[in-house]
Subunit: 209 residues, 4 copies
DNA sequence: GTGTAATCGAGACGGTACGTCGAGTCTTGTG
DNA sequence: CACAAGACTCGACGTACCGTCTCGATTACAC
């Protein structure tokens, strides 16, 4: 499942659509061109014509499948942005489990200049509530939900106080990462993520300090 | 001193500049129009022509004094964005001093839709390193420096461990605020700020917890 | 064939051009709007935006097909400016043949305020040698060449001396017409043209008076 | 007397104007700068700022004394444009007298690229009837009147028929010169002027040829 | 095989905003 | 007063990009 997928729209029957089927070559080429160009120059630094040229596709094809440049960007970057994994793991301390999830992400952030694109997406989201919802769903909520599940499990396990404010904890973890990503005043690297996680977890442990 | 000020360039002598002096009426009207329009519709939702019209000025005058729309936005919003104060105060607990500084700011953020503009500024900063520096200096660094001074004084006073990582602490405080401001997934209100401050300070107190 | 035509560039094969074909509606509307506005207010009195608005086209479309406002003016006015005809006719006296060609033109000049536009074109031609060539080719040379052919035939027929200086004769015929057209000190009407033709032909007849 | 002179406005009394007197240095420098720049690049190719810079004057001073750039151009070029002379002379044939007046002028035209400026003036005259009158008076009428006086004297002397149409004759003489000056299809040189004069005079001699 | 229908690349289109430039006016302090 | 300096308003310029639209050409399934 990806942000731009249109599967599931027709009935689940075997009924094939008539007419020429969508070209997978074009779709893949557009996403690849988008990924490369958006990371290189940011959302506003790239024109749709450029993407079409690089992909050997036409602008009409792009707009047939993605309603706007920013939707395309979300789709083009989603896989890489969310690439990660590590199974949930109760055996290790909470800090370690959180780092296990966040560190692969920040490795991606360091490897590629995502700040350029994310800043553009955030700016568009301000002017277009529908896109804001789309962007949050695919780019932000996925990670927050994952970490939220971890935290709630740890609460159930008694590793965190029952009174822990999970949304606040998520903002305390993700906020500093986005802060450096978007403002660029300092690098988003592994030591930074470890420090965030340790300080926040420590702060959450004693609710009535 | 404001972001767009050009004072202090000539010698401090009483030597007056020749020619027609810059119109304070035009400058003030442009900044007022910019402030109103940028907050209303965001950086990208406003055209320079509109600002000129509303200010009764001409586009040429705007471009004479501000190199771009985003520089104008920084200048137009700076005063309001930084309006705050509260003298530094050792007598109260650290949490209270931090809240005393941050809460007035957050009240501004709630009163006006700053997210729209800040998102636009952040996006532009990605594509223009010179503007990025300008924006960070006037919009971000000012507040970080203020809080940084507080933290360092508290370290000297023994209220915080000598090993406290001040830049990290600043990111932990400001990051979550920017996170909600830009992503809009939850409100930036006083309880939120208090919760951030308490959790972070608690987390900082026992570095080797 | 018109000044702005691009036909004949590709091979004469039936090979159709790819992509959306140029809109004849837009082309015709732009030329019509240009003709009306240029005659009404002269080259400098009309903005390209106005032409675009009146034509229901966009400025980009105008600039896609005409490199400048003055090129558009040449194209928009060419047909009307050159509308004329009358087959060449040896049976009548030379004066009468010349009048037969020039009088219809002069009627156009009286019917519409061409002076405004031609003055603008002449002014632009001074600053842009490439446009000067374009303008002369389509607006001036056409008529001169036609009259030149008449004169050379009459020389061959013995109606004019073999030593007749044809370029000089053309300047003597067209010069006075342009003079009044551009300076506006007196009307360009039929009696004027007849008087020019008679005086010049008489002057040419006795080369060594 | 020059086109921009303002003498004669105050009473002929010896009463001197109060305040700082007009600077002759500035006036001369502005006219000199205007003459050089207008001839070099034409009316539209020169900005008033440029003239002010080159003259070491200010734009305000220019606009205090000349209502527009084109009025300045008329004034700056008038002396050179009309420089000529030759006393009227009944002793020689008409052709020779006319050449005696016109040849010095065309020498000026060949020495300097007047076409550029005159074309600009003619274009402006189309859009501004008041300036059109001004331009015709100083740039066109002067010469026409001079030649007109010659022709009328020659009619009185019997060298030309009593029925001679003087305005037509003037258009036949000046028209071809302006034609080449403005259209630039051929040079305006002495042989050309001589050929014009001879052909036209010959054509005028036998009105009912 | 022969429609029928949706796709594709190409590229022109209307629209909107950009940042620049020049004309002519206005506002200072200085001579 | 006039003058140099230079900021001001106004309005047009030509460019760039967006997202839409029309073409001819292609490619499947349905008959």
């Amino acid at each position: 499942m990806t942000p731009g997928s249109t599967e599931g729209m027709e009935a689940a029957t075997a009924e094939r659509r008539r007419g020429r089927p969508r070209s997978d070559r074009a779709r893949a080429a557009i996403l690849a061109a988008g990924q490369a160009l958006f990371l290189e120059r940011g959302l506003d630094g790239v024109t749709v014509d450029e993407i079409a040229d690089r992909a050997g596709a036409s602008k009409a094809t792009i707009y047939r499948w993605w309603p706007s440049k920013e939707h395309l960007a979300v789709d083009a970057l989603y896989d890489d942005w969310l690439s990660h994994a590590g199974p949930e793991n109760d055996e290790v301390p909470l800090e370690q489990e959180l780092e296990g999830y966040l560190v692969p992400w920040v490795r991606v952030l360091r490897r590629r200049p995502y700040g350029r694109v994310v800043a553009g997406l955030v700016a568009r989201a301000q002017l277009d509530p529908a896109f804001a919802e789309h962007y949050r769903t695919w780019f932000v909520r996925r990670r927050r939900d994952h970490v939220g599940r971890i935290l709630r499990r740890r609460i159930a396990d008694g590793d965190l106080p029952a009174t822990t404010d999970v949304p606040l904890a998520l903002d305390l973890i993700f906020g500093p990462i986005y802060h450096r990503l978007l403002h660029g005043h300092a690098p988003v690297n592994e030591p930074y993520v470890r420090a965030i996680v340790r300080t926040v977890v420590r702060g959450l442990l004693r609710p009535n300090g």
